[in-house]
Amino acid sequence: MPLNQTLKGKTYQELTFEVERDRATQFSLAVGEDDPRFLEAGAAQAEGFPEQLAFPTFPTVLGILVSAQAVTDQELGLDYSRVVHGEQEYEWKRPIVVGDVLKATPRIGDIYSKGPNEFLVIEAEMTDADGEVVCISRGTLLSRGTAEGA
Protein backbone atom coordinates (compact mmCIF):
# COMPACT_ATOMS: atom_id res chain seq x y z
CA MET A 1 0.00 0.00 0.00
CA PRO A 2 1.39 3.44 -0.90
CA LEU A 3 2.53 5.85 1.78
CA ASN A 4 0.20 8.63 2.84
CA GLN A 5 1.48 11.53 0.70
CA THR A 6 -0.57 14.09 2.63
CA LEU A 7 1.91 13.80 5.52
CA LYS A 8 4.63 15.73 3.66
CA GLY A 9 5.81 18.43 6.03
CA LYS A 10 4.43 16.76 9.16
CA THR A 11 6.51 17.44 12.24
CA TYR A 12 6.88 15.15 15.23
CA GLN A 13 7.59 15.63 18.90
CA GLU A 14 10.79 17.49 19.75
CA LEU A 15 13.57 15.31 21.14
CA THR A 16 16.31 16.34 23.56
CA PHE A 17 19.55 14.44 23.62
CA GLU A 18 22.66 15.00 25.71
CA VAL A 19 26.01 13.97 24.22
CA GLU A 20 27.45 11.94 27.10
CA ARG A 21 31.16 11.22 27.28
CA ASP A 22 30.84 7.45 27.62
CA ARG A 23 28.47 7.21 24.66
CA ALA A 24 30.61 9.49 22.49
CA THR A 25 33.72 7.45 23.33
CA GLN A 26 31.89 4.18 22.73
CA PHE A 27 30.77 5.44 19.32
CA SER A 28 34.28 6.62 18.36
CA LEU A 29 35.79 3.27 19.31
CA ALA A 30 33.05 1.39 17.44
CA VAL A 31 33.89 3.15 14.18
CA GLY A 32 37.61 2.52 14.63
CA GLU A 33 38.45 6.10 15.50
CA ASP A 34 41.89 6.33 17.08
CA ASP A 35 42.28 10.11 16.82
CA PRO A 36 42.65 11.21 20.49
CA ARG A 37 40.53 14.33 19.90
CA PHE A 38 37.54 11.95 19.68
CA LEU A 39 38.52 9.92 22.74
CA GLU A 40 39.48 12.40 25.47
CA ALA A 41 38.99 16.05 26.37
CA GLY A 42 42.67 17.02 26.65
CA ALA A 43 43.65 16.33 23.04
CA ALA A 44 40.65 18.28 21.73
CA GLN A 45 41.19 21.18 24.12
CA ALA A 46 44.83 21.39 23.08
CA GLU A 47 43.52 22.42 19.64
CA GLY A 48 41.02 24.93 20.98
CA PHE A 49 37.88 22.78 21.03
CA PRO A 50 35.84 23.18 24.24
CA GLU A 51 35.57 19.44 24.93
CA GLN A 52 36.14 15.94 23.57
CA LEU A 53 34.72 15.74 20.05
CA ALA A 54 31.93 13.40 19.06
CA PHE A 55 32.56 11.49 15.83
CA PRO A 56 30.94 13.37 12.89
CA THR A 57 28.31 10.68 12.31
CA PHE A 58 27.48 10.48 16.03
CA PRO A 59 24.12 12.19 15.24
CA THR A 60 23.12 8.74 13.95
CA VAL A 61 22.40 7.90 17.60
CA LEU A 62 19.87 10.72 17.71
CA GLY A 63 18.79 9.92 14.15
CA ILE A 64 17.48 6.52 15.15
CA LEU A 65 15.21 8.23 17.69
CA VAL A 66 14.32 10.86 15.08
CA SER A 67 13.16 8.37 12.47
CA ALA A 68 11.42 6.10 14.98
CA GLN A 69 8.48 8.48 15.35
CA ALA A 70 7.81 8.61 11.61
CA VAL A 71 8.49 4.94 11.03
CA THR A 72 5.91 3.93 13.63
CA ASP A 73 3.35 6.58 12.59
CA GLN A 74 0.16 4.61 11.82
CA GLU A 75 -1.09 7.42 9.56
CA LEU A 76 1.98 7.10 7.33
CA GLY A 77 1.53 3.38 6.67
CA LEU A 78 5.17 2.36 6.39
CA ASP A 79 5.84 -1.40 6.37
CA TYR A 80 9.24 -1.55 8.02
CA SER A 81 10.00 -5.02 6.65
CA ARG A 82 10.13 -3.40 3.18
CA VAL A 83 12.41 -0.57 4.20
CA VAL A 84 16.08 -0.07 3.37
CA HIS A 85 18.21 2.99 4.10
CA GLY A 86 18.65 4.61 0.69
CA GLU A 87 20.50 7.86 1.35
CA GLN A 88 21.91 9.84 4.24
CA GLU A 89 23.12 13.40 4.47
CA TYR A 90 24.76 15.30 7.30
CA GLU A 91 25.42 18.98 7.12
CA TRP A 92 27.66 20.21 9.95
CA LYS A 93 27.83 23.79 11.24
CA ARG A 94 30.42 22.96 13.90
CA PRO A 95 31.85 19.82 15.54
CA ILE A 96 29.59 18.21 18.13
CA VAL A 97 31.25 17.99 21.54
CA VAL A 98 30.68 16.11 24.78
CA GLY A 99 28.18 18.01 26.94
CA ASP A 100 26.19 19.36 24.00
CA VAL A 101 22.47 19.18 24.66
CA LEU A 102 20.87 18.82 21.25
CA LYS A 103 17.24 19.34 20.38
CA ALA A 104 15.67 18.10 17.18
CA THR A 105 12.17 18.20 15.73
CA PRO A 106 11.80 15.40 13.16
CA ARG A 107 9.93 16.37 10.01
CA ILE A 108 8.81 14.50 6.91
CA GLY A 109 10.75 16.39 4.25
CA ASP A 110 9.33 14.57 1.27
CA ILE A 111 7.50 11.50 0.06
CA TYR A 112 7.89 10.51 -3.58
CA SER A 113 7.90 7.47 -5.80
CA LYS A 114 10.26 6.29 -8.50
CA GLY A 115 9.25 3.17 -10.40
CA PRO A 116 7.88 0.58 -7.99
CA ASN A 117 9.54 2.12 -4.93
CA GLU A 118 8.68 4.96 -2.61
CA PHE A 119 11.07 7.30 -0.85
CA LEU A 120 10.51 8.87 2.54
CA VAL A 121 12.79 11.75 3.53
CA ILE A 122 13.06 12.43 7.26
CA GLU A 123 14.81 15.67 8.23
CA ALA A 124 15.98 16.98 11.56
CA GLU A 125 17.77 20.17 12.42
CA MET A 126 19.78 19.68 15.60
CA THR A 127 20.21 22.81 17.71
CA ASP A 128 22.33 23.41 20.80
CA ALA A 129 21.44 25.01 24.14
CA ASP A 130 21.91 28.47 22.58
CA GLY A 131 19.46 27.63 19.80
CA GLU A 132 22.23 27.54 17.19
CA VAL A 133 22.03 24.89 14.49
CA VAL A 134 24.81 22.32 14.93
CA CYS A 135 23.88 19.68 12.40
CA ILE A 136 21.18 18.93 9.87
CA SER A 137 20.34 15.32 9.11
CA ARG A 138 18.40 14.12 6.07
CA GLY A 139 17.75 10.42 5.82
CA THR A 140 15.95 8.78 2.93
CA LEU A 141 14.22 5.48 3.52
CA LEU A 142 13.32 3.38 0.51
CA SER A 143 10.09 1.43 0.72
CA ARG A 144 10.37 -1.43 -1.76
CA GLY A 145 7.47 -2.09 -4.09
CA THR A 146 4.84 0.07 -2.39
CA ALA A 147 4.27 2.72 -5.08
CA GLU A 148 0.81 3.13 -6.57
CA GLY A 149 0.27 0.48 -9.22
CA ALA A 150 3.46 -1.42 -8.30
Binding site: R23, Q26, F27, L29, A30, V31, G32, E33, D34, D35, R37, F49, L53, F55, P56, T57, T60, V61, I64, L65, V84, H85, G86, E87, Q88, E89, Y90, E91, W92, R94, P95, R138
Partner: protein
Protein backbone atom coordinates in the same frame (compact mmCIF):
# COMPACT_ATOMS: atom_id res chain seq x y z
CA UNK B 1 44.06 1.39 8.81
CA UNK B 2 43.68 4.83 7.34
CA UNK B 3 46.70 7.07 7.55
CA UNK B 4 46.11 10.42 9.15
CA UNK B 5 47.86 12.93 6.93
CA UNK B 6 50.76 14.73 8.54
CA UNK B 7 49.60 18.06 7.14
CA UNK B 8 46.30 19.65 6.35
CA UNK B 9 45.55 19.82 2.62
CA UNK B 10 46.10 23.22 1.03
CA UNK B 11 43.35 24.62 -1.15
CA UNK B 12 45.68 25.92 -3.85
CA UNK B 13 47.57 22.64 -4.16
CA UNK B 14 44.48 20.54 -4.91
CA UNK B 15 43.56 19.70 -8.47
CA UNK B 16 40.14 18.75 -9.78
CA UNK B 17 40.18 15.04 -10.62
CA UNK B 18 42.91 14.24 -8.11
CA UNK B 19 42.26 11.23 -5.84
CA UNK B 20 43.16 12.38 -2.38
CA UNK B 21 42.39 9.52 -0.03
CA UNK B 22 42.03 5.77 0.01
CA UNK B 23 41.40 3.85 3.24
CA UNK B 24 40.78 0.11 3.54
CA UNK B 25 39.00 -1.61 6.41
CA UNK B 26 38.18 -5.28 6.89
CA UNK B 27 34.62 -5.56 8.15
CA UNK B 28 34.53 -7.84 11.20
CA UNK B 29 31.52 -9.30 12.94
CA UNK B 30 32.64 -8.00 16.34
CA UNK B 31 32.99 -4.47 14.96
CA UNK B 32 29.48 -4.57 13.51
CA UNK B 33 28.19 -5.75 16.91
CA UNK B 34 30.07 -2.91 18.63
CA UNK B 35 28.53 -0.47 16.15
CA UNK B 36 25.03 -1.82 16.84
CA UNK B 37 25.55 -1.22 20.56
CA UNK B 38 27.08 2.24 20.10
CA UNK B 39 24.49 3.49 17.61
CA UNK B 40 21.44 1.81 19.09
CA UNK B 41 20.51 0.16 15.77
CA UNK B 42 19.88 -3.41 16.89
CA UNK B 43 18.22 -4.63 13.68
CA UNK B 44 18.80 -8.43 13.64
CA UNK B 45 19.84 -8.18 9.98
CA UNK B 46 23.20 -7.00 11.34
CA UNK B 47 23.60 -9.62 14.09
CA UNK B 48 21.65 -12.79 13.41
CA UNK B 49 22.71 -14.97 10.47
CA UNK B 50 19.51 -17.03 10.59
CA UNK B 51 17.42 -13.87 10.36
CA UNK B 52 19.56 -12.48 7.52
CA UNK B 53 19.16 -15.77 5.60
CA UNK B 54 15.39 -15.66 6.16
CA UNK B 55 15.27 -12.39 4.19
CA UNK B 56 17.51 -13.61 1.37
CA UNK B 57 21.08 -12.77 2.36
CA UNK B 58 23.85 -15.37 2.80
CA UNK B 59 24.60 -13.97 6.27
CA UNK B 60 24.53 -10.77 8.26
CA UNK B 61 25.32 -7.46 6.55
CA UNK B 62 26.96 -4.34 7.97
CA UNK B 63 24.86 -1.28 8.78
CA UNK B 64 24.91 1.25 5.94
CA UNK B 65 25.77 3.83 8.57
CA UNK B 66 28.80 1.74 9.60
CA UNK B 67 30.08 1.97 6.02
CA UNK B 68 29.30 5.69 6.01
CA UNK B 69 31.25 6.13 9.25
CA UNK B 70 34.31 4.54 7.63
CA UNK B 71 34.01 6.90 4.67
CA UNK B 72 33.59 9.88 6.99
CA UNK B 73 36.64 8.83 8.99
CA UNK B 74 38.72 8.60 5.81
CA UNK B 75 37.53 12.08 4.81
CA UNK B 76 38.27 13.46 8.28
CA UNK B 77 41.72 11.82 8.38
CA UNK B 78 42.52 13.48 5.06
CA UNK B 79 41.27 16.96 5.99
CA UNK B 80 42.71 16.66 9.54
CA UNK B 81 40.65 19.51 10.95
CA UNK B 82 37.23 18.24 12.15
CA UNK B 83 35.87 21.80 12.01
CA UNK B 84 36.53 21.81 8.25
CA UNK B 85 33.81 19.23 7.57
CA UNK B 86 30.75 20.85 5.98
CA UNK B 87 28.61 18.01 4.65
CA UNK B 88 28.47 14.48 3.37
CA UNK B 89 25.67 12.98 1.31
CA UNK B 90 25.77 9.29 0.48
CA UNK B 91 23.69 6.80 -1.47
CA UNK B 92 23.69 3.22 -0.22
CA UNK B 93 23.76 0.93 -3.25
CA UNK B 94 25.04 -2.48 -2.16
CA UNK B 95 25.31 -4.52 1.01
CA UNK B 96 28.56 -5.38 2.79
CA UNK B 97 29.22 -8.87 4.18
CA UNK B 98 31.51 -9.90 6.99
CA UNK B 99 35.26 -10.18 6.32
CA UNK B 100 35.03 -8.14 3.13
CA UNK B 101 37.54 -5.32 2.63
CA UNK B 102 35.79 -1.98 2.28
CA UNK B 103 37.87 0.73 0.59
CA UNK B 104 36.81 4.36 1.03
CA UNK B 105 37.95 6.78 -1.68
CA UNK B 106 37.71 10.49 -2.40
CA UNK B 107 38.46 12.61 -5.45
CA UNK B 108 38.35 16.40 -5.88
CA UNK B 109 35.21 17.28 -7.89
CA UNK B 110 35.30 21.07 -7.74
CA UNK B 111 36.84 24.02 -5.93
CA UNK B 112 35.16 27.27 -4.99
CA UNK B 113 37.76 30.04 -5.06
CA UNK B 114 35.48 32.50 -3.27
CA UNK B 115 34.61 30.35 -0.27
CA UNK B 116 37.65 28.03 -0.32
CA UNK B 117 35.24 25.12 -0.15
CA UNK B 118 36.16 21.90 -1.92
CA UNK B 119 33.59 19.36 -3.13
CA UNK B 120 34.70 15.74 -3.36
CA UNK B 121 33.25 12.72 -5.08
CA UNK B 122 33.34 10.02 -2.41
CA UNK B 123 32.60 6.33 -2.68
CA UNK B 124 33.39 2.87 -1.32
CA UNK B 125 34.49 -0.25 -3.15
CA UNK B 126 34.64 -3.95 -2.42
CA UNK B 127 36.15 -6.61 -4.62
CA UNK B 128 33.68 -9.50 -4.66
CA UNK B 129 33.98 -12.54 -6.93
CA UNK B 130 36.40 -10.69 -9.19
CA UNK B 131 34.11 -7.69 -9.61
CA UNK B 132 34.12 -4.24 -8.04
CA UNK B 133 30.97 -3.53 -6.03
CA UNK B 134 30.23 -0.04 -4.71
CA UNK B 135 28.26 -0.09 -1.45
CA UNK B 136 28.37 3.72 -1.47
CA UNK B 137 28.34 5.55 -4.81
CA UNK B 138 27.23 8.82 -6.45
CA UNK B 139 28.07 10.55 -3.19
CA UNK B 140 29.52 13.94 -2.25
CA UNK B 141 31.31 15.64 0.57
CA UNK B 142 32.18 19.30 1.12
CA UNK B 143 35.06 20.60 3.24
CA UNK B 144 36.16 24.15 3.95
CA UNK B 145 39.86 24.92 3.57
CA UNK B 146 39.57 28.62 4.34
Amino acid sequence: MAQVQAQRPEFDALEVGQEVFEAAKVIKREDVKAYADASGDQNPLHQDDDFARSVGFPGIIAHGMFSMAHLTKALKDWVRNPAALRSITVQFRAVVYMDETLVAKGRIASKNEATKEVTLDVWEEIERDGQIVQPIKNSRAVVSLA
